[in-house]
């Protein structure tokens, strides 16, 4: 049980660090990022309009897979 919860908490912290970067940190650099323009999109604007969102979606699926693997490793996964 202990090892399980340590790993779960570790994953939680990892996910929240990535979340924090794409929720706040990236957007603090919007002005310098806007100097880079791809397909008409200034990068700083694009990060808030699409980039962060894509990261959030991918992050949740990645988290779900990782956490399910942790469950199985410690024998606490549900029987489905």
């Amino acid at each position: 049980m202990n090892g399980y919860w340590e790993e779960t908490r570790g994953l939680m912290i990892k996910v929240l660090v990535i979340w924090f970067i794409f929720a706040f940190v990236v957007h603090a650099f919007v002005k310098p990022l806007n100097g880079i323009v791809i397909l008409g999109f200034p990068l700083g604007f694009w990060m808030a309009a699409q980039g962060s969102l894509i990261v959030f979606v991918a992050l949740i699926f990645w988290y779900a897979r990782k956490q399910n693997a942790i469950d199985e490793k410690h024998g606490v996964a549900e029987d489905e």
């Binding site: 994953l11 996910v15 957007h27 008409g40 700083g44 959030f56 949740i60 779900a64 996964a77």
Partner: protein
Amino acid sequence: MSSQATGKNVFLANLGKIYGIYTGGFLAFVIFLGVLEQLGVPERIIGFLFVGLTLAVYAGIGILSRTMQVSEYYVAGRSVPALYNGMATAADWMSGASFLAMAGTLYLLGYDGLAFVVGWTGGYVLVAVLIAPFLRKFGAYTVPDFLAARFGGNVARFIGIIVLLAASFVYVVAQIRGTGLIAERFLNIPYDIGVFVGLAGILLCSMLGGMRAVTWTQVAQYIVLIIAYLVPVVIMSWKFTGVPVPQIMYGEALQQISQLEQTKEALAGVKPHLEPFLTYDPLNFFALIFCLMVGTASLPHVLMRFFTTPSVRQARYSVGWALFFIFILYFTAPAYAAFVKLEIYQNVLGSALNALPDWVYVWGAHAKVKICGVAAASAEVVQQACAAKGVEVLDWKNFSIAKDVVVIATPEIAGLPFVITGLVGAGGLAAAMSTADGLLLAMANALSHDIYYRMLDPNAPTGRRLIAARVILIGVAILGAITATVAPPDILKLVAWAFSLAAAGNFPALVLGIWWKRTNTIGAIAGMLAGFGVTLAYLIWTAAPPLGFGNPELFGLKNISAGLFGIPIGFIVMIVVSRMTAPPSQELQDLVDEIRTPKGGVVAHKG
């Protein structure tokens, strides 16, 4: 009983086929109406068919999903697969305002409006990692139900209900109002009656089948709303750029907008679309993102959707699917804003007053477009008003468009037939109804399960509980509809309060209750009261009259981000008070261990 169970299994095994046929049927219906329009059937009939038929389908699903089993009524029998629960959550979450006004907000605010896009999506990461799987494991019927179990009794439950009602009631009033307005526009019936027509639809979807019925109607509503949202902007992108992928192609539009802002005389001094921090300074921009995210992770009507998955494992994936389906709309909204802005900058502003495009007058007649300070009802009205002001060429200062028509005006701007406008109306109706369903059910379930069953009549037999649940549901719905017809429109400003109030009231208790065993009853109660109280006080202190006292903001922090004070205070009080008092009983600590372990089935409401 057994035949009902088999019927249900057949239904669940064929979900893909059923909703596939439904989607195809809906598309065929749109095409059929398009043909009718070409044959000369009047717009009024087309609008009526759109709204009437989709309402009938939702109500039909609601009736087919009726149930007399408690767990079906409260948590859809915990049988909703991750992907479908994701769609239902997306419909539950995206309100009439998200559908109709999000793009308009981005049109008006440019970059700064993206705080809403980031805030309303990033919150799902918090839902997935910190809260939803654990609440699913616990097996609660409502959020207050969990608070009561974890924090030893009815005081925590009662505070949870107050937070829930504070976050949900005005929100549902706004949705009922939205359905009334759309019914008014498409059925040509007076607003007051429209509200009750919309209400009847909402009740038919939820009353007989509770969560089970709401789930399957929300999936159907998601399909309608996402098709309705994508079709106009895809066609617009195709017309403007030759490529029907607006989410990629609006980069070009952004460049053209920037260029026009710098070169066109009628746009001199306009707020540049791409320039950050012109409406919100960085403090308010990031505070808003924070409050919207934490608020999303605390709204009871969203969290309760994750009680319905078959397993903890699926609850996790389900949050991912929910965000994916929400993402499709939210990453399209900025494209709407860009294309509509480009059209207005190119063809409306800087034009002579006798050369404005027709769509301006179509929406001007509804007072949604104003020129030279008056509703642009016709060319004469506009020319008179502008002549009085000495305006000859229309510039940005003398033009305004309401944010809730940017999406719905797009079909006319792109020169599309009325059937597409009708489709957008049906989408807006689906968005408002699905959110209203979820909110009503969250409130009614808290009142029937937590107040009536848990606090007033714990020995009530199943039949009586389910009847009470329905009576309360109707009561709350009618109260909401009456508020929507008699209350002043100012009340809708309270919707913005929901996020901060839910965040400060619920978030610390949910997160610490799961992640910090040492949190005890007194700490949780003190923290919830402090966080909720401080937030509410700041809101009332700073809100403009008549809602508040209109006092100056602390550190310039806008009212809408009041949670920035309340959330940390909630956490601090909860931790300090818990530390100063005795740790929770061994029994409660074991409960926390059980919630943290996926294996072993639900803790509460087994069976």
